[in-house]
């Protein structure tokens, strides 16, 4: 056997050192310890994903991740106090709130009571508590793929939250998970969120993320969603991480029969972002809708990667993603629809549209279909281009300065994806985030 020397980047070496340093202090030594070790071994073998790995061709983490900041510690009480005072874009929404500070759930600044049918467990505690059976039974089960981000998360996970929603529970107020990064030193965070929802549940889950600007922190969150049969679930993720942040996130969902799941994602600030959505349509007649808007400026890089697995008959899936790119920003959309042989009568449609506002901005679109059933309707499309000059002239001829005319067209462009969000108040918030982004841009242009 010949010895292969693996060449590791500086960041990879630092990640190895971090694991060596922390592995014995992280929660859940006993049974969970071996899961960690296994996950880390898998990461150790592949290293950070890079451009020669197909799924990472356009987001080469090996070159994008320049450092591996230390793991965030459980926040001290004065940090938690500061966290409680933050303003959020979602403040005017009447919601049940769960607060994560630097990747750790903090009950003291979360809503005092949970609605009936909702049970919340701190992952920090569940990790070393064998009686948290639902946590241990579900962790890592929402996806079979050995994804490097999930492996890293499993290896380093030390906090997060488990939300269990009992069958038949219908929530009238949204649940909001607020993930705040607070502090002055760069840290890395690997929170794990499990949502385990029974049959006939109905709820809206908001995920809001924010953190300080000019701080190069790294987030690698994994959300696992287990949705029973005949559920109606809406999920909105608003990524307003700081402008130097690296925000990596994975949403892995298993969708039961006749269940409708609608997830929307918006990115406007972080320097580097990748949002992965892996959905398995496991029950017959489920409906999935995955949509999003990315607005990028400067040298921002944002990647949306979807893998939709139609593993049961007669499911529908719809994806609509809009990307607005200015300056030297880079956008990536990778969307894969897989239709298993059993999944007859699948109806899938995917669309990615990008507007380039500058010659230096770049969009990479990669839609894919992988179909093993014969009675299916599947389609995908991708467009990429500048704003229509004739439309711009039409608006300017009516008196709108160029930046304003562009803003009107871009708001309409993003609006088409925002339309897919059912909750009216949330739509208004998302529209306002778009408006702010466009306003700041117009300010630059003038």
């Amino acid at each position: 056997m010949s010895a292969v020397t693996i060449i590791r980047s500086k960041t990879e070496q630092a990640i190895l050192a971090l694991f060596a340093k922390h592995k014995d202090q992280l929660q859940g030594q006993g049974s969970f310890g071996s899961q960690r070790a296994k996950a880390f071994a898998s990461f150790e073998q592949t290293g950070l994903p890079h451009r020669r790995i197909e799924a990472w061709h356009y987001t080469d983490l090996r070159s994008l991740l320049r450092e591996a900041p230390p793991l965030a510690a459980k926040p001290a009480s004065h940090v938690v106090q500061r966290a409680a005072e933050k303003n959020w874009s979602t403040d005017q929404i009447d919601a049940t709130r769960l607060m994560l500070v630097n990747g750790f759930y903090d009950e003291s600044i979360s809503s005092f009571t949970m609605p009936q049918g909702v049970k919340v467990t701190d992952v920090y505690k569940a990790l070393s508590d064998p009686s948290s059976k639902n946590f241990h039974d579900h962790i890592g089960q929402a996806t079979q793929s050995s994804d490097p981000l999930i492996e890293l998360n499993t290896a380093f996970m030390n906090g997060g939250v488990v939300i269990e929603i009992a069958s038949g529970t219908k929530l009238d107020k949204p649940l909001e998970l607020r993930c705040l990064v607070e502090g002055i030193d760069p840290v890395s965070m690997h929170a794990r969120i499990l949502v385990i929802a029974g049959d006939d549940t109905e709820f809206t889950l908001i995920e809001s993320h924010q953190g300080p600007d000019a701080l190069s922190y790294q987030v690698n969150n994994v959300v696992e969603l287990f949705l029973g049969n005949n559920a109606h679930v809406h999920h909105v993720r608003l990524n307003q991480s700081g402008n130097y942040a690296v925000d990596l996130s994975t949403l892995a969902a298993v969708v039961g029969a006749e269940t409708s799941f609608n997830t929307f994602h918006m990115v406007n600030k972080p320097g580097i972002a990748r949002h992965q959505v892996f959905v398995k349509m496991q029950g017959e007649g489920a409906h999935l809708s995955v949509n999003g808007v990315n607005m990028l400026n400067g040298t921002q890089h944002a990647d949306t990667t979807l893998a939709i697995d139609h593993a049961a008959p007669a499911c529908t899936s719809r994806e609509l993603f809009k990307t607005i790119l200015d300056a030297q920003a880079t956008g990536v959309f990778q969307g894969k629809i897989m239709v298993k042989q059993i999944a007859q009568k699948t109806d899938g449609k995917m669309m990615s549209q990008a507007v380039l506002l500058s010659d230096d901005a770049k969009m990479n679109n990669k839609p894919e279909l992988e179909i093993f059933a014969d009675d299916v309707v599947c389609g995908h499309g991708a467009t990429c281009g500048a704003l229509d000059e004739d439309l711009l002239f039409y608006l300017m001829a009516r008196g709108l300065p160029k930046a304003e005319a562009e803003a009107l067209m871009l708001a309409a462009f993003a609006g088409e994806a925002i339309e897919t969000v059912e909750n009216e108040d949330l739509r208004a918030i998302l529209e306002a985030v778009v408006g702010d982004w466009l306003g700041q841009r117009a300010h630059h242009v003038e």
């Binding site: 000059e389 004739d390 439309l391 002239f393 039409y394 608006l395 300017m396 001829a397 009516r398 008196g399 709108l400 300065p401 160029k402 304003e404 005319a405 009107l408 067209m409 708001a411 309409a412 462009f413 609006g415 088409e416």
Partner: protein
């Protein structure tokens, strides 16, 4: 007053306007007629400030100010308005939002305050009623799925609300049915006053029965080749453009 002097314009190395000269006085309604491809729409775009054209020579003065140095939105704020031959569809931007943005942008550049919402709604209601435009159309995307005639009415609605000083109507009559033509002409007629001028591009003498011009100009090969009174339109209806097609060549 609009003065166009010796205007030479090309697009993609193709010469379209060849030394066009034309004056429209305050309060005047000037009609332009001419064969297809003679450069009428090009002239209207150049006046409105569409950026695709190479202006090789000449000037366009609005009240003595050369508008060729201005961007399209500045010309609009200065009082120029073009009703497009082919109005564009803008999906996702409701007609209401569009009207409000346009009116307020022009007010802003003139240093005026934004129009209060109630006042805005009142004006839109009055003008759209006069043009027979149903309110629910205003909540749809601008021109999206509108019929040809509806789009033309929408152009005139914009004109009525923006109260420009110089209006260019590029074939507003084509696509209108007989009743709509009367309604729209009426809508334009009420805007006529001693300060406001119109440049009306049309192929059909019929419009000019309802919206009677002071002068009629014949355009061919990118020039004004004949100018006369309203009777010139009748002559053209009878004789066609055969004489003019050779005249300027």
């Amino acid at each position: 007053m609009l003065e166009i002097k010796n205007l030479h314009v090309a697009i993609e190395d193709k010469k379209i306007l060849n030394g066009l000269t034309l004056t429209v006085n305050d309060g005047e309604v000037a009609a332009i007629m001419g064969p297809n491809g003679s450069g009428k729409s090009t002239l209207s775009y150049v006046i409105a400030g569409k950026p695709d054209y190479d202006i090789l020579d000449g000037e366009i003065l609005l009240n003595g100010v050369n508008v060729l140095d201005m961007e399209a939105h500045e010309r609009a704020a200065a009082g120029l308005f073009l009703a497009f031959q082919y109005p564009l569809e803008i999906p996702g931007v409701t007609t209401m939002t569009f009207l409000k943005s346009a009116m307020n942008a022009q007010r802003k550049s003139r240093g005026e305050d934004e129009l209060p919402v109630a006042e805005f709604m009142k004006r839109v209601k009055a003008a759209s009623d006069r043009l027979g435009i149903a309110q629910d159309m205003l909540r749809r995307g601008l021109n999206v799925g509108f019929s040809g005639g509806e789009k033309k009415r929408m152009e005139i609605l914009q004109m009525a609300l923006l109260e420009p000083q110089f209006c260019i109507l590029d074939e507003t009559d084509s696509g209108l049915d007989i009743d709509a033509l009367k309604i729209v002409s009426e809508g334009v007629n009420v805007l006529r006053d001693s300060k406001r001028s119109f440049l009306v591009i049309t192929h059909y003498q019929r419009l000019l029965n309802y919206f009677v011009p002071d002068t009629v100009h014949v355009m061919a090969h990118g020039q004004v080749v004949k100018t006369g009174g309203k009777e010139l339109a009748l002559e053209l209806e009878a004789s066609g453009y055969a004489d003019y097609k050779t005249l300027a060549a």
